[in-house]
């Protein structure tokens, strides 16, 4: 059966949505359609992909305005006569067609301090409990699709925030190291506040909603990281018993607030957001974090565009502007 598609084609100098009618077979995903276009009408249509299985995070695009993985978006999720509009992710400068310049993310990755191995522990001597590694493992599920980065309003329409803001992907990296049972640094929270721009985040949860790995970015990483250092004493997680937390998180030596003011002054003691009270990570009766969110009643979250929005939007209403490359 033929279905109608609109695909953005162009490059940094401009472009527009082109119309295509493409054969769609049962069981196919949006990436299959892109491949069919490449093999037939438009051999030079640029699009990234690798695994076609939701494991590599290459095929990020916006489908009917929603940030999605092309290989994980089944055609059967659309109405039979629905037009499907495919555009590049819009927070990053376009290179060509659906391919964007995501080097911002690699730069931020480079600025995030790496794992610090515990001194004096030889390779092969690392001992950690499963329950302790699971917290960090949740964040290590990240496939670096950068959909969370793309959707975060702090940079989505505000290029000027890019230098000071690392984005949700790198907040979970900092949280992962913070919760790593053997990481030797104890200033991950302070660093996130002072140098990653954690204070910009006002916990809108859009990042969690788009994450194809269903990582609870806000609840499990950002909120715990945002708790001011002095609040650690009241961390609900402490109640779970000392064995989940690392020695250094419980000790008193780093309870003092950081003296660096940070981007938003959060680490200097200025509260970042009063919109909602911080929530601890949800923990089951066995003390485990719920890492497989598949058991949760709702997968991911509500649509970032509101549940009453229908797609596709009439073309007149689609305001699609690609940000200029800022270098």
């Amino acid at each position: 059966m033929k279905r109608h598609f609109r695909v953005w084609r162009g490059d940094a100098s401009g472009g527009d949505l082109r119309d295509f009618d493409v054969e769609v077979n049962e069981g196919e995903v949006v990436l299959d359609i892109i491949h069919r276009l490449q093999a037939t009408e438009t051999p030079d249509l640029a699009c990234r992909w690798n695994c076609k299985a939701g494991k590599c995070g290459s095929c990020s695009m916006e489908i009917n305005g929603k940030p999605r993985l092309g290989c994980m978006t089944r055609m059967s999720t659309f109405e039979e006569n629905e037009t499907i509009t495919i555009t590049p992710i819009r927070t990053f400068p376009v290179i060509r067609d659906l391919v964007t310049d995501v080097s911002f993310n690699y730069e931020k990755a480079r600025e995030t301090p790496a794992f610090a191995p515990p001194p004096g522990v030889a390779p092969g001597e690392y001992r950690m409990q499963q329950i302790d590694v699971e917290r960090s493992q949740e964040f290590r599920k990240c496939i670096e699709c950068f959909l969370c980065q793309n959707t975060c309003h702090v940079i989505r329409d505000h290029d000027e925030n890019k230098p000071a803001f690392s984005g949700p992907r790198y907040f979970i990296r900092a949280a992962e190291l913070d919760m790593h049972p053997l990481d030797d640094r104890s200033d991950r929270k302070e660093y996130a506040q002072a140098s990653q721009g954690l204070g910009f985040c006002n916990i809108t949860k859009c990042c969690t909603e788009v994450c194809p790995e269903h990582i609870k970015i806000t609840d499990n990483a950002i909120i715990p990281m945002k708790e001011r250092v002095v609040d650690r004493r009241y961390d609900p997680l402490v109640w779970l018993g000392r064995k989940i937390l690392r020695r250094d998180q419980l000790g008193s030596d780093n309870m003092a607030p950081s003296t660096t003011p940070g981007v938003a002054g959060t680490s200097g003691g200025i509260p970042s957001s009063r919109a909602r009270r911080p929530e601890g990570a949800p923990v089951g009766p066995d003390g485990h974090m719920d890492i497989a969110e598949l058991v949760a009643p709702l997968q991911g979250g509500l649509s970032p565009f509101g549940e009453d929005m229908t797609f596709p939007l009439p073309p007149e209403e689609v305001t699609y502007h690609h940000p200029e490359k800022d270098r």
Binding site: E28, P43, R74
Partner: protein
């Protein structure tokens, strides 16, 4: 069109940013060499991310009886004794160290009760041996290495003020040609995918870590990157390829629905209790246990089922036979008309354990099928069939250093692109550890090789200009054939005629068709410009796919026996005579593939003695056994 060429000078250039490439680059940087990492896709997205099951290393954390000798034996058995014994030995000995090292880079593997790295069962491994993280071990491996590289770059930044001063990643950059100075490697030529501009890396040592060739097949688990570039680059530079006839067809790739066709169902589904059934509902694997394995595998369903809870006192279920056996069994069932509607068989875990347990043990599997195909593996069986998965053959290398054989110097290879280590069949989990062990060795020895050079080899201007011309040809040519059509035709030839079960007539036919394709590929043309043009990129890759396919077809025709990843219907038996033979391909001046027989190196006595004589009798010739006895 402009032929401006950007130039970079490095000591070691690593082509490939998968597990092998990254590990090699780390080692080269640690040896103080200026290192470049080049990758066709973005950093951290190489094929290694797709590995699910785990990395095999005899750490003995779960069963303390495990050690390198047991691992070595399993590897040789899996490869049907055609493995390069020295590589199998190094691999078994060094894998645990390489895994432990990853923890110092920040990896978080699943743990045992006493806090060590947990290890899981996998087909062909005698003890639980695979270090794993749920079913996303490859992602953990690549992310860990990626982050280690970042951490080295941070050290360099602290010291020199530049992240890129000692190790730099060139992502979305494809190498199309290696450049030589006499018979020494002098550099690598390629293009930036983003801009289509050319780039020349001058370097005295190149490490190939480009992965496999699966893209030449119709049903494959491999991505667009797997066009055999490294294999072809090596051939053209004067190196040799060994045993290219051995391709692994993963027994359980999804065959339905189409959106997941080719995607693998990890072996751990079977390790955790999943069973294979035909259309009659029969658990057919019991009928396919070959004699060599008879002793280790259960004969009744009851015994097999007891094994999951009490592995010490029961024999394992036949679903855990090595991959080639399982793939062949499925193929036979389908041919006998007992297949599933889409031409596979049923893999059933739903009826074997409660839904929660499935979700806990196989979270990403469950997630993937739910999201991709709307299949709930806790409710219904999966439809699976053989899928082209891994190439055992590859660049013939010196086992200790990873240096390529043939006429070229300064060329090293590690990972899937290298050959020999896995013999005729790879055990699950042995690839990830192979990447680490030989990636490290290749990086180390490439650096050592650079030290020995008096003067840097220089690439010649003529060669560079020629490489640029070849790369541009499909764009310049008008009215040639569409690269996608050519790829489909190539896939059809390989899938239908050089697939899992092979026959002489079909192989000869395939060689003829490949010759025809060669003419057509020489006339391929790509529309569009130079910026991020996938059609053009494919047109360039086709030439590599073609020459590598030719090697596979030629070697498959030559080897008149069935062994591991090579099954000849007309020669169904494994032959001890053929076990002594490696098939080695090289490229003649004319561009023709030249095939040669070479003896398999003789295993050292102390390694030979690790095996039972009665077991050896199944593999080696009587004279060989007698010869050993006499000593």
């Amino acid at each position: 069109m402009s032929t401006l060429i950007e130039r970079h000078l490095y000591d070691v250039v690593v082509i490939g940013a998968g597990g092998a490439g990254l590990r090699a680059a780390i080692e080269a940087r640690l040896a103080g060499k200026r290192t470049a990492i080049i990758s066709k896709s973005l950093f951290g997205k190489a094929h290694t991310v797709m590995a699910e099951g785990g990395a095999a290393a005899a750490m003995g954390n779960v069963n303390s009886r495990d050690n390198w000798m047991v691992h070595f034996r399993d590897t040789m058995r899996g490869g049907k004794f055609l493995n390069n014994f020295r590589m199998a030995e190094l691999h078994a000995k060094e894998a645990p160290e390489r895994i432990w090292e990853l923890e110092t880079y920040g990896a978080l593997f699943d743990r045992t009760k006493d806090g060590k790295i947990s290890q899981r069962n996998f087909g062909g491994h005698e003890y639980p041996r695979l270090a794993h993280v749920g079913d996303r071990t490859g992602l953990e491996l690549i992310r860990t290495l990626q982050q280690k590289i970042v951490s080295l770059q941070q050290e360099d930044f602290a010291e020199t003020g530049s992240y890129d001063s000692r190790i730099r990643v060139f992502q979305e950059t494809t190498i199309t040609e290696l450049l030589l100075d006499g018979d020494r490697v002098a550099g690598a030529f390629g293009y930036y995918r983003e801009s289509g501009e050319f780039v020349l890396f001058e370097a005295p040592a190149v490490v190939l870590a480009t992965g496999g060739v699966g893209r030449s097949y119709k049903v494959t688990s491999n991505s667009w990157e797997y066009t055999g570039d490294g294999h072809a680059l090596a051939l053209r530079a004067g190196a040799t390829l060994i045993n290219m006839e051995f391709l692994q067809f993963h027994p359980t790739g999804m065959v339905w629905p189409p959106s997941v066709k080719g995607i693998l169902v990890t072996e751990s589904v079977r390790g955790d209790g999943g069973v294979l059934r035909n259309s009659e509902g029969k658990r057919f694997m019991f009928d396919y246990v070959p004699d060599v394995f008879r002793k280790q595998y259960a004969e009744t369903e009851e015994e097999a089922d007891r094994w999951y809870t009490d592995a010490d006192n029961n024999r394992r279920p036949p679903e855990l036979l090595p991959r080639d056996e399982v793939a062949r069994a499925i193929n036979s069932e389908v041919k006998a008309g007992r297949g599933s509607p889409a031409g596979g068989v049923f893999l059933d875990i739903a009826s074997r354990m409660p839904a929660e347990q499935i979700i806990r043990r196989l979270p990403s599997m469950h997630h993937q099928f739910k999201e991709l195909a709307d299949v709930d593996i806790t409710k219904e069986p999966m439809e699976v069939g053989p899928t082209c998965h891994y190439v055992m053959g590859g660049v013939e290398v010196e086992p200790d250093t990873g240096a390529a054989f043939g006429t070229v110097q300064g060329l090293f290879a590690a990972g899937e692109v290298s050959g020999g280590m896995h013999g005729s069949n790879r055990l699950g989990g042995n690839s990830l550890s192979d990447l680490l062990v030989f990636g490290k060795r290749a990086g180390e020895h490439a650096s050592a090789y650079v030290e020995t050079l008096q003067a840097r080899p220089k690439p010649s201007k003529v060669d560079v200009a020629a490489a640029a011309e070849v790369a541009l040809a499909p764009l310049v040519r008008a009215g040639g054939e569409n690269p996608y059509t050519l790829q489909q035709d190539l896939q059809a030839v390989m899938g239908d005629l050089v697939g899992i079960i092979r026959r002489e007539g079909e192989l000869t036919d395939a060689l003829k068709k490949l010759q025809e394709l060669r003419v057509r590929v020489a006339n391929v043309s790509a529309s569009g410009g130079r910026r991020y043009n996938p059609g053009w990129h494919l047109a360039i890759d086709l030439r590599n796919m073609l020459v590598v396919s030719e090697c596979t077809a030629k070697a498959a025709l030559e080897r008149e026996e069935s062994r591991g990843g090579h099954t000849r219907e007309d020669f169904p038996k494994m032959s001890p005579e053929w076990r002594r033979v490696n098939l080695v391909c090289s490229l003649e001046e004319t561009g023709e593939v030249h095939l040669e027989r070479k003896p398999v190196p003789r295993m050292r006595d102390e390694l030979f003695d690790l095996f039972d004589r009665s077991e050896l009798a199944k593999y080696v010739t009587d004279e060989e056994l007698a010869e050993r006895e006499a000593e």
